[in-house]
Symmetry: D3
Subunit: 232 residues, 6 copies
């Protein structure tokens, strides 16, 4: 079984870390194919970056169509998720959706700790869409995405501090890490903090494997119908 | 005052009709600049078309930045609305948002009559986002977008029939036409049906003029902060 | 085009200020006819004042029926809005509805700064009705309505301080001024605070002009059907 | 204990029937004082009638202030409920609120059968306000209010037929009668239909008695603070 | 009229206090029969205790079937409420539902003060179910249930302090006491605090009396249909 | 890895079929331990059966505590889910929650086809709890649970017919089978109907495996805190 993990930004070092996180939880028979578009925004920090990342993301999905059992979109804004589901025949999982679903299986309220404040409104809207608005709080640690690539940036300390605030102020029973670039932090932060810390990349890999094992694919009976043939 | 009206699909004949509708309601001092991207999907029928239309839409907005008082995105899916608001300094109005707001000023429940069934889920999600889910029903007339360009297609009759069903079955107090390609039908259908029929293009032009007169611009204090400088 | 602006309280000095604000944004061809009932509560501060103000408000609307293109109800509680829509043939706009709609076009979350704490529950209910509860916070500056008529009262400073709290604590991307008596403050406070500050009177005038230009009137197909003839 | 039951319309024959229904369930020690304003709309059928009925209603409440243990507003639109709560020191119960609460204790989904279609939007909004929108359906029997005063009008048959439709189509587990003029029908229709049929007048009397026994009064700590002294 | 009040935990001293509170508000003709299961959890503090208390609760209801006019479940988690409604022919009232309904008649926002933090999620879910989530806040005083049986425990002081926080921070217009063991505190705390303090046991007794007087019983037309005969 | 699958009713033949379905999707290294309580209701059809099944369910979970990687509760009412999460240290998955989450990854709207009409209200409440109420419809096929054990009962035909109605009337993009006794029908019905048909037992097994692989356990920081020591 091959799972395509697309990092929709063009920062290859982040793709490498995402791939490692994905492989750390993949089942023995699962091959993780981690890619990123050759060009496009270096990081996704707000709606404009999101929009520009989508065509490259869709091209990656199209390129691997027919050879994969499922796709994970490894950006916490779930960029291009609907378009990808229309395009692909295999299931597509967004890491925000995956992480929120997973957190909801482990406790009641959860808090998301994302990077920059400008991303909070987009994630609040996703929480609304996924039926999680009533049980979640979205917080920003004030960390640019690419600071997560730099161990000297102090980014992890700021994430840790924000998790503490979530525990004290939000009634959070679990924490969701709100950026694919935090994928490798979940396990250690969870042990340190003493409550479940969920990362979306790893959660999505398990959901994709699960759907494949169940023989389930995206429904084409509604909004995810295959694109109509036309001039584009 | 110059209002930019962007038809995000690449069908110029539709842009011409949209422009005419926009001009029919514009105030004396308002110049309507109607454009479409030179390439991209010929019509927007589902999430995949939406995603591919956005970069061309944003390029048009960027090209006219600084010379306009406001922008109307003339696709009922409100494609690229958030990215456009981040990018532009002048206000940006989506025609779905404009039409739903306008309908909500005229009565209680309203029904949207859009083109194809595959677009219904996207519009239901917009109704949710705009706080209108509890008072609206989304319906499809089974009309491809470009059939609206062809008087011989019978498209208008199918729209008319769907409006009748909305009046009989939904308790609709007003009707929203769910495609920019229907912009020129609103007034005549309203007179024929005896209840308000709202088109988003014309509604959005008036909202854009209004915001300009009020001296109001998109807030940059949250999710619509200007894009950060970075490799794209 | 003539727009009727009804201040439903009986304080003529407030009507004068409301009229000036309305005229400051009206289109060249728009005549603003600003009135208030000859008697009734001097200010509207709570549900009881609301109820007593409505008959006078309706009498003003009835008196001008047939001569106007639209009516603005210039009290932020949107008092009598439904009854006025039933009674009038031209559109009727409430300033709370107008301001919330306008704010929602400019950003995500917004905060309303109103006068007295006793008005907060009524405005929270309006936010719910208009589909804005999930994105808005209602705050009171602790300012009696008529203090806004008195430059020496310090009322504006208290409004300014409450706006600052909204920016710091609510994640507000824009501010809505929650009283018709604040109509003349929006532009200067917006410039001072660096984010959009929306006033309902001016916003409603532009919406009323827009509906008139679109040829749209209140639907009589549901709850706003004309009153039945009967002894009253 | 004296309970004031105000029929806010001016049709005395309806007040007589409402009083009889109220007395039929009142506890031994409860005196029912049923009144209506001397003038005002003969029936309340829509928002305009509602608005005009409120001042007379408030005058009745004011006239009996200090002599009663609670007030029931006997119009299913719960007209003037908030103003009455501000004005009165004893509790005030609306019959829509009372009936919906009572129905929610007896089953899951319920349907309201009211008089005219024009009243449906107002009742849907009340269901929203009372937290009952997700479990209720509002239906109109097409019966003018005063037809309920006339045994030869066939009104009861139309109510009966609408209850049957609610049972077949809505999944209704109980029925709420949506007009004070139906107060005397609840018990017989319940027996005939084999499911709970709730009337608001009688339900509200029991709630008012209950609050009095509990020693509870309207909170003056928020929106129901006593009206401020001012020119009215 | 006989009302069965079941304390679903096995602490008889609490049953005695609950019975006294119930009798203090019961109508002259009402007999309060207060019972608890002979075994089961000594107090209900979380979901596990809830689950284990239900069979004993149902056995008490079954034992008195046919001899009572209504049942009150005197645990603020409303444990076993749905099963009890299926089983019994007379109405069944949960004290959380009763208290929240009662508070909603007295003001807008209310806060619940319960015992331990672990019970907050369950009560938030009940608020959601009863349509009260948008107007309520759930708080814990950090008091074990059985500390309420011990005057020397300081429990009442902690409840008092939490009520003060609710008044200062939540905009609470009334307070709901979130444990049957607080039933005897409502009246004195209400007088002390100057706003309505609602206890569910007493509120539920009045609702049960009311339903009996109205001749209303649980609907068997849906989810509360009588259990099917089968091996159990 | 050992996954405990508890059928909370006492019908062993159903446990056998549930076990087979679970094993058909389990990963190579996963052992499925399928059990049912030795006594308790033979099937779960309504709230009363639910309540009586829980103690036996909890006893099974307690008996295997410490030896398993996760538990699946194989009743579509998700009976005892909260209590089980409090009790167990390993994750616990309800099959309704699992199926609804899975369906939400495959399309927009989905319909649940359950057994008897009396179970619909309970499932509607679960849909509300899981954030799925806005995108789901609950339907009953009119099939007693144990009819699913009998190939001659015609039960499968009735399920098939109800799926067809869901496709025609609800806009369902996928189907959820609303009873553990339907676990073996999902794959064949999906192929026959041409849209995803999701069964909760198999979906829950994959979620339980996934959580185990991610090293995630139920949060004990809130409502699922371990039961307090006390007399029970």
């Amino acid at each position: 079984m091959r799972i395509l993990v697309v990092n929709p930004n063009s920062t290859t070092s982040m793709t490498v870390r995402i791939a490692a996180a994905a492989r750390s939880v993949a089942a023995p028979g699962t091959e993780i194919l981690a890619v990123n578009p050759p060009s496009g925004p270096a990081s996704i920090e707000g709606y404009y970056d999101e929009a520009l990342a989508v065509p490259g993301l869709l091209a990656e999905i199209e390129r691997h169509e027919g050879t994969i059992a499922g796709t994970v979109i490894a950006c916490f804004d779930d960029v291009g998720l609907d378009a990808a589901r229309s395009l692909a025949t295999a299931p597509v999982i967004g890491i925000c959706e995956a992480a929120m679903q997973t957190a909801s299986l482990l406790g009641g309220r959860f808090s998301v700790v994302t990077t920059l404040a400008r991303s909070v409104p987009a994630l609040e809207r996703l929480a609304q869409r996924y039926g999680m608005a009533g049980r979640s709080t979205i917080r920003a640690a004030g960390v640019p995405v690419l600071a997560l690539e730099d161990p000297a940036s102090g980014a992890v300390d700021r994430v840790r501090a924000e998790i503490r605030r979530a525990m004290e102020q939000d009634g959070a029973e679990s924490i969701v890490l709100g950026c694919a670039g935090m994928a490798d932090l979940a396990r250690s932060l969870g042990e340190e903090m003493g409550l479940p810390v969920v990362d979306g990349v790893t959660a999505a890999v398990k959901l994709a494997e699960g759907l494949a094992a169940l023989g389930l694919r995206t429904s084409k009976a509604g909004g995810y119908a295959a694109p109509l043939p036309k001039a584009r």
